[in-house]
Subunit: 267 residues, 2 copies
């Protein structure tokens, strides 16, 4: 159990990590850099030099300042530490937005205390937005100042804005069917968000995010941001979302219940 | 035919119009404002007070400084002037991004000389990006400075990044079929861009944009930005795109020809 003082210090250290990542990623954004293909899951899932080098920069800082902490990152895998605390990082979540020049990608940094992510950060250095969640407080920090994040009051599907990165992430016909049904029941559906849509859910402008095929590093940083803004994030069956897979985030318990009722039928 | 001096002056005036629109729109962005429903074309096409008030602010400035010019705007319709020059404006293109808190909407301002749009501006005040096209020059202006826009060198569909606002804009089965075919042939497809994807085509990070159901004010501002960055924008049959409808924009003649070969079969 981390103390409030430790939370403060570690949140400040997460800022240092995000700053270090931004120094690597930002010069490559819209620079026409070469990309290469990593996984076969999606048709095109590029990893850039920026992605790998940003994670290396983050890992070097953690190893220097918290040598006992474990690290779990997208690019360079898992290192177990002697402490129960470990960092879960995705240097560029939304690589397809990144290579398309769309500023909806983010650097994701979570500190997991061995039971769950307790500090989460999503940094978008091009727009200058940093979303930070920690026990009792979610904030958006920009060059204009700090503002508290609070989810919307939306309780009904037919009044909800639904976000999803790409329907291609749904692998089974049942998944695709429930997503189509959900899409037809909401007020508005938006694609292409990656981490940015979870951040907007915390900010109150998107009400529901439904995804599948997530990795732990795709979601762990977003969990403290959503929960400490008053939102709910679980698996499609209402379980712990920290290992990724099928994830649903909702602004209110009523909206979450309505979404789960539909989503669980696909599993 | 406008002189280079007139182009300079009118481009500066377009800056004034974009600044005036931003003062109206920006305070409403992510503010949780009420929205209402305007058209039946899409399931949900909201128009905000910001949209209407920003257009009113633009119209007032044009009437004051160029009383002979005509005005064609999304919100308040068409006013014919005594000059052949007229302004084509969409105060918030991408209202669905706007209400979702996604900073991919833009204020679109075009000056049409009676034959075609010759000055085009797309302003995104939240990210602080202003894309400007005029004879011989397309630029992106940010708080960090000015940079020249140049399209990519992509010549083949299988190496192209394709942008589209929402496949729901395709109304016929033939349109949907060719778009699915095109999507399967490109390297990567992105949704949710509105005007922002045309701007990124001019910036060289998106190679192809394919859309339908456009209004003149959805595309006129983007035409000078794309063309003066070296790109091509036409109807799906290769004709003049300024009246909207079916529009294709491409980085190179080769890519444009490949896209047209497929798209024209849908009409």
């Amino acid at each position: 159990m981390l103390t409030p003082d430790e939370i403060n210090t570690l949140t400040g250290f997460a800022d240092t990590l995000a700053d270090a990542a931004a120094r690597v990623t930002l010069p490559h954004f819209r620079s026409g850099l070469a990309v290469d293909n990593k996984r076969g899951d999606f048709k095109f899932d590029p990893v850039t030099a920026a992605d790998r080098d940003a994670e290396a920069a983050i890992r070097a800082l953690i190893t220097e300042h918290y040598p006992t902490h474990g690290i779990y990152g997208e690019e360079h895998g898992r290192e177990t530490g002697t402490s129960e605390n470990y960092w879960v990082i995705d240097p560029i979540d939304g690589t397809r937005s990144f290579i398309s020049g769309v500023p909806l990608w983010g650097t994701l940094i979570a500190l997991n205390d061995g039971t769950k992510p307790v500090i989460g950060m999503m940094d978008q250095p091009y727009t200058g937005e940093r979303f930070i969640g920690r026990p009792g407080l979610s904030e958006l920090v920009t060059r204009h100042g700090r503002s508290k994040l609070r989810v919307s009051t939306c309780t009904a599907l037919d009044n909800a804005i639904l976000g999803n990165t790409d329907p291609a992430m749904f692998k089974t016909e049942k998944e695709r069917t429930v997503f189509r049904t959900l899409s037809s029941e909401v007020k508005l559906r938006r694609f292409g968000g990656d981490c940015y849509f979870y951040a907007l859910l915390a900010a109150g402008t998107i009400d529901l995010v439904v995804e599948a095929s997530l990795q732990p590093y795709d979601i762990q940083a977003m969990i403290p941001i959503i929960e400490n803004a008053g939102g709910i994030v679980t698996s499609w069956t209402g379980g712990d979302p920290q290992m990724g897979g099928h994830v649903v985030a909702a602004a209110t318990p009523e909206l979450h219940t309505a979404a789960i009722a539909l989503l669980k039928t696909a599993l």
